[in-house]
Symmetry: C2
Subunit: 518 residues, 2 copies
């Protein structure tokens, strides 16, 4: 029974239904509390940091005129179709299953394929150009590894229905604006641009016209960063034997062809005008190559007019990833800062966003050619980069804790909590009958900014005790001056019951100190 | 090949990999652009309305001291386990598949089961009571129907690790505060409370001790709303033949037992004190029943102290859903407004949130009893209710559109767009070479508040034309007074180029009119 595939119409449904009947199967041995590999929980500090990042990025998208769209997580597998971004790795999979009608459905692996399906489905009812953003998780069924997850968040923007070079230039502008809105300044990032057609032109001129041979060349060029130009030259030619003795067969290009490819790869560096000059010479009179160079030249004009200089957007022929997938310009945004990994090695942070022009978007559904161009910011990768650059995020302060000294006074404590909340101060009542010490330890572990304390003595005097836990922390660590304690800002003091909110607000308004050492 | 189950280790992977190889399978006939049934896209107005609703609710949760948690969409199926809320319907399924390690994984069907897994996994490292909120989609593999979706958003809050009645009362307070923060006032909603133990006590006293018989009673009582008390009495006794002649077998209770159950079901109405008085008499000296009534009595005290009167929170013995699943009090928040459906029939909107106390949360993983209590707000149902009450949401205004009259001036147009964005005004450049009329139609269909127009004449004069599209709409419909047009607030006017931002800001600041009739 356990091997009956889910969704198979001849299998008993209760093998996988998590309802009453299936309980019999699991009640004898307890399930272990764990997640499938490649998935992770996010605690408050991560959820809030991600939300803040997404809010900032979406704000920039909206400012540029993109509107929201949300598609569901599951789609028909054939509708997701061929939009896997990396055709180089055909076993990158999706999480798929058969629906009750026996058709394959799958979790989306990006936000582009669902956009294509949406645009094709909406047809002529949709205002074009359609400019949408979408934020959401995507799922990849691939081998998880350290820092490599099978669910992650993407933040996409695309313009569908316009072939204008203005749209291409705008992708650079939006990526630049989004990163700068996140506090990443010019010089700390760079948007790299390449064009599919330029390389096609170079390959044409070198006599490499076959699509399969072109793909082999792309794969070799993609290894430039890792292996260097000499190894790439070997891969383009006769093949290569690496240090371990493993042999990779070569593309079998003639030496002149290898030189042409390497010439293209090496044509980057310097200003956009410099690169265009070099590419212009490389493509010569090849029509496709020329259309690519012309596009880059027009994009350069628009970027100049927008004040996006060579310090923000560069033309870089080594940007290869996705070239087989996109039909025109491709974009990659990279953080340039170097960081040290856990072993102290210097590493580049690398790409945090990518995109390009893909004009076959809707065609596979309807046959209608619909030009489209956009990019995707990898929220999790960007967050991880920010963490590496700025250090761990501070654990957010918890709510103010109203301690319970006398269970018969629950109503009075509740009134205090309600007053604090009415003033916009997050507050909670400690719910259980525990010692005062246990309650204060709880407040401490939740990083509460303040605790409110009232026992019979305070109720009789019409007072409450308010304890500043952040200041208490600082005093305990010797960060704050103990004199402060004596001069009107003590860590704990009595205030009239009517002054509770004011006293707590004064404490909560204080800037929270960084993450504690403990 | 097509029938090989996904994830089966002996099946070829390229049957489902959406990469290069699988293209051969789909290239001959085009996939149709459609969604699996029970799934839907959300356009901008819905995305923004949902986001606003979630932000408001989360604000209330945070104010009450709940912290954020996010768990992934996929979990091990055995970890999701028995927490399907409705044990009454064993064929309510989940979307499940085998992972690469051959274990079953599934999309979560609620946010409670992942919370249980998280708490069990975190063990003693977690500060308790653990008070978390989580917002996210959940998936149910059930028959979709009109307004019945297989993906929807839940917004949960739970307190794990406290058995205090204060936590139970707080669930009512949080539900009430969340609905009121959304503008739903007292009298427009009600939080209904029942307690599992009171009914158990009543059944004990009536001699109905068997768990299976108790479940049959619960199922019958759950039909009270739909069938009325006479039909329920039949279902509890000899069985019932409905109008179509279909026979449902009865629970076979003796007449005195049927009376006891109906007595319980009818014990609602009036103030909380009234209900407690009636329940007190019904449970007599049964221990379990008494503990339930005592809990309700203490909850009533705390609700009174919090100012949550009988107009907001009522005790209602007919709230049955989930009684088999929960271990103590159960909650349901309901909008009381009646609406008319598409056929003009008066309907109750019904439940928009539900929850309760479930003390077996962590036990099934670790054997440790961990008390827990919380509730879930159904975001989509609440949104749908708000729509029904308030009418369709206004389609949000699009960005300001800068039209392109002269392609050679692209840099100048870009500068205008950049200035508007720098002032925080969403703006975009019309990207394509289309007629002025086509560009204005686009701005109109995007509901742009304003269009900016500059041709050679304007450039020469150092001016731009700014057109107020909302006012233009009103003028066209006769909503606005045409005299306004003559007295300084025309729908279109020339301003100096340097006054562009000021002129557009003045227009964007105007309140947008409601959704147009067109």
């Amino acid at each position: 029974m356990g091997s009956t595939p889910i969704g198979s119409t001849d299998g008993p449904r209760d093998t996988y239904v998590a309802g009453r009947r299936s309980l019999a199967h699991v009640s004898t041995d307890r399930p272990s509390a764990r997640l499938p590999s490649g998935f992770a929980d996010a605690r408050a500090e991560d959820v809030l940091a991600r939300q803040a990042l997404v809010d900032t990025v979406v704000g920039v998208y909206r400012l540029h005129g993109f509107e929201a769209l949300e598609t569901p997580a599951l789609e028909y597998l054939d509708a997701l179709g061929k939009h896997l971004p990396d055709e180089d790795a055909p076993d990158e999979g999706v999480f798929a299953l058969r629906d009750d009608d026996d058709q394959w459905i799958a979790l989306r692996y990006d936000l582009t394929a669902p956009l294509a399906r949406f645009v094709a489905q909406a047809g002529q009812h949709l205002v074009r150009p359609f400019r949408r953003y979408q934020v959401g998780p995507v799922w990849r069924r691939e081998k998880p590894g350290p820092g490599r997850f099978r669910q992650f968040t993407q933040c996409d923007f695309d313009t569908v229905g316009s072939a204008s070079v203005g749209v291409d230039a705008e992708v650079c502008a939006v990526l630049s604006a989004a990163l700068e809105a996140l506090g990443i300044g010019p010089g700390e990032y760079v948007v790299r641009v390449n064009d599919r057609r330029v390389l096609t032109g170079v390959l044409h001129r070198a006599g490499i016209a076959d699509a399969r041979a072109q793909l082999t060349v792309l794969r070799a060029v993609d290894k430039l960063d890792r292996l260097g130009p000499d190894a790439v030259a070997e891969l383009l030619g006769e093949g290569r034997t690496d240090a371990s003795g493993d042999r990779t067969p070569g593309a079998g290009l003639a030496p002149a062809q290898v030189d042409a490819v390497l010439g293209f790869v090496r044509s980057g560096g310097g200003s956009r005008a410099d690169v265009i000059g070099r590419l212009d010479a490389l493509v010569g009179d090849d029509d496709v190559g020329r259309s690519g160079v012309d596009e880059l030249a027009r994009m350069a004009e628009l970027l100049d007019a927008s004040g996006l200089g060579d310090d923000r957007v560069v033309f870089d022929p080594t940007v290869v990833r996705g070239l087989a997938y996109y039909t025109g310009p491709v974009f990659e945004a990279e953080l340039t800062a170097e960081i040290r990994d856990e072993k102290g090695r210097v590493r580049a942070i690398g790409s945090v966003a990518g995109g390009g022009r893909y004009d076959d978007l809707v065609e596979r559904f309807t046959g209608e050619k619909v030009p489209a161009c956009g990019a995707s910011i990898g929220v999790d990768r960007l967050l991880a980069a920010q963490r590496l650059l700025a250090g761990e995020a501070a654990v957010p302060r918890g709510p103010v804790v109203v301690t319970v000294m006398d269970r018969d006074r629950l109503g009075d404590y509740q009134a205090m909590v309600a007053e604090l909340r009415a003033a916009g101060i997050a507050a909670e009542l400690y719910p259980d009958e525990r010692s005062f010490k246990a309650q204060m330890k709880y407040a401490d572990r939740r990083r509460s900014p303040a605790a409110v304390i009232a026992g019979s003595q305070e109720f009789e005097a019409g007072e409450v005790q308010v304890k500043d836990l952040a200041l208490g922390e600082e005093l305990a660590k010797g960060i704050a001056d103990r004199d402060e304690w004596r001069t009107g800002q003590p860590a704990q003091r009595s205030v009239p019951r009517s002054g509770l909110v004011e006293a707590v607000a004064a404490i909560v308004g204080r800037p929270a100190p960084g993450r504690g050492g403990g």
